[in-house]
Symmetry: C2
């Protein structure tokens, strides 16, 4: 199997381990910074590595539009082109089926996007999506799915899910016919319905994917529904394969999911919030553009090991975020990504030492 | 004297040496990256140091408006506030007398700016300008001068120059009364007039400043006039003190000035051009947003030691500059600053080894 996954420790349902990919190992539970277009905004690849990131997420839909998969393949694949030599997971475009709702049409054959840039049509069949990710040379490819909006009726969710699972079968067959260098993950949908989540997880597990994702969360649903979806779905997924909760989230949501047995996470939150001047700390988020920080000589977080806290005060970061967006956004992003990656280190250590419960209680809200 | 300047080698009129400041040594000839608001746009202090920068330039006028000198002083001075622990030179606001022409009024007492941000009035007397720089704790403070526009009549240039030199006397006296931790540089004006440049240089030299700048260039004049001003003025300036050519410029202008005996340079060009996608190379500037670079797998410059060329191709930088401004501008800025700083290393080595003529002929246009 191209993706070896070794669980090295457990604490309740939580596990810590190592996912070995063609481009290196990822210690789990892991957070994957989002580099939609091939780079995390403001963070060149060497700096991303220096922050402790072991895997980056990119987005097939966006890369297919610009610069196009043909070009990336011609230039040696996504790793060579982007300069990020570590493991890469690409999202399939399924989330864009949700987020670009007015710009796409779905039918049994797949999805047709109207480019959000120039309106050009882009048709993606489930087979195309895995082929394109194979040609990008990614370590983890995702199947094409439909991510329904929230709320949705049981009937609509069931119909959508049935098609998503038929697409997963086609993707699995295509991948078996011509596999990529890495692995292929399935995506469990089913919205807020226990029966759909469970049946989908069982159906997909039977297809022996390299890993399994929980999708259809972070689409506007209440936290309790998001958590329920994780609690229902995770135990049904094969224990020996990596599990990925897509697009989640805040630390308190991540740690809840870790306790349920999730291994991989991605979210735009740390980088996007940073660009808006919102900095994460263990004491809560700070809105650094606020006047109170103008004269605050302390680092963003006392004791933080990030390059930002080592270099500048809250006062100077406040000044930069207000008047020098480029430098301010870069420094804020470095802090927030460090915060998330450091939090995941703490999560892994807690599982290894059997003290996750304490960490969960410290972070739960 | 707070600024020790040791000349360690010469080649014709060119010299190489070391300027020792309260915050460390600067090898000359040196290029000072421009951090108008306390940081070079997109380059946190540790990265600026890693690029090889030994001194940064900031701007009193801009810092006086935001966040204000009171606040910076309260937070420990410009070094502590900005996180840049190396030497800092601040421009006095004289260039803004030129660039914000419609927003300021001049009289014998000094200059009154209307803030370009909110219209608030800011009056700066020559004495205020040195006091404010002393309170910032900078290593090199500049006198307040009037930078006349180009072209200007001899009569107007002479009148402006006379006032600038009267201001210099007042600044020198104020600095003697209450000196800052570093040194104070005078600024020679005189536009394109040989007699004015020479008389101004003689007058200021007699006042025993810690260093001397040539101002009033890079204001729209033809290259030949700019070069003539340098050729006329430099020999009149005290040989044992550092000489600074303000706001210049392209490498071919810098190397001409070095050959005349200039030691310090600053310019927004490398960083500003980078943000617009124009990258410097020894083979000429590349407009990286051009379609030709979309598929170019080479680094910006073969053999370049900068972090950008080590990480990404022209093709990926083209993609970022078009679609991910934050990352693209950061990577482009890193390359261009490295290019300038590396060029100055080459300049220093050429002077030390007596081979500057070869370098001049390679760079002259």
């Amino acid at each position: 199997m191209p993706l070896e996954f070794a669980i090295t420790g457990t604490d309740g349902a939580a596990r810590t381990g190592v996912l070995a990919t063609p481009h290196g190992e990822v210690r789990t539970p892991a957070f994957m910074p989002v580099g939609t277009l091939g780079a995390v905004k403001g963070v060149p690849p060497a700096q991303l590595r220096a922050l402790g990131a072991e895997v980056m997420l990119a987005n097939l839909y966006h890369l297919a539009l610009r610069p196009g998969v043909d070009l990336i393949e011609e230039l040696g694949g996504l790793h060579a082109w982007s300069g990020w030599s570590g493991p890469i997971l690409t999202d399939s475009g399924g989330f864009q089926v949700f987020s670009l709702g007015h710009l796409r049409q779905l039918d049994e054959s797949g999805v047709t996007f109207r480019s959000h840039l120039d309106g050009a049509a882009l048709h993606l069949a489930p087979e195309d999506v895995v082929d394109l990710q194979r040609r990008l040379g990614v370590d983890v490819a995702m199947v094409l799915d439909e991510c329904p909006p929230w709320p949705v009726t049981h009937e609509a969710a069931a119909a959508s899910l049935a098609r998503t699972n038929r697409w997963a079968v086609r993707a699995r067959e295509e991948w078996a016919r011509q596999p990529g260098p890495g692995g292929l993950f399935a995506i469990v949908q089913g919205s807020s319905f226990l029966d759909l989540r469970e049946s989908s997880a069982r159906e997909l597990a039977a297809l022996a994917f390299d890993g399994y994702a929980i999708g259809g969360v972070s689409v506007g649903e209440p936290a309790a529904e998001r958590r329920a979806a994780v609690e229902w779905t995770t135990p049904v997924l094969p224990a020996e394969r990596p599990r990925y909760l897509m697009g989640v989230g805040y630390p308190h949501d991540i740690i809840h999911a870790v306790a349920c047995g999730i291994d991989l996470f991605d979210c735009v939150l740390p980088a996007r919030n940073a660009r808006h001047g919102v900095l994460f700390t263990r004491g809560g988020a700070l809105k650094l553009k606020g006047a109170a920080f103008r004269t605050d000589p302390r680092p963003v977080e006392e004791g933080c090991g990030c390059p930002t806290c080592a270099q500048v005060s809250r006062a100077f970061l406040h000044h930069l975020l207000r008047w020098d967006a480029l430098t301010g956004q870069v420094l804020a992003t470095l802090h927030n990504l460090w915060f998330y990656l450091d939090f995941m280190r703490e999560v892994r250590e807690s599982i290894a030492s059997g003290t996750l419960t304490e960490l969960v209680s410290r972070w739960s809200i």
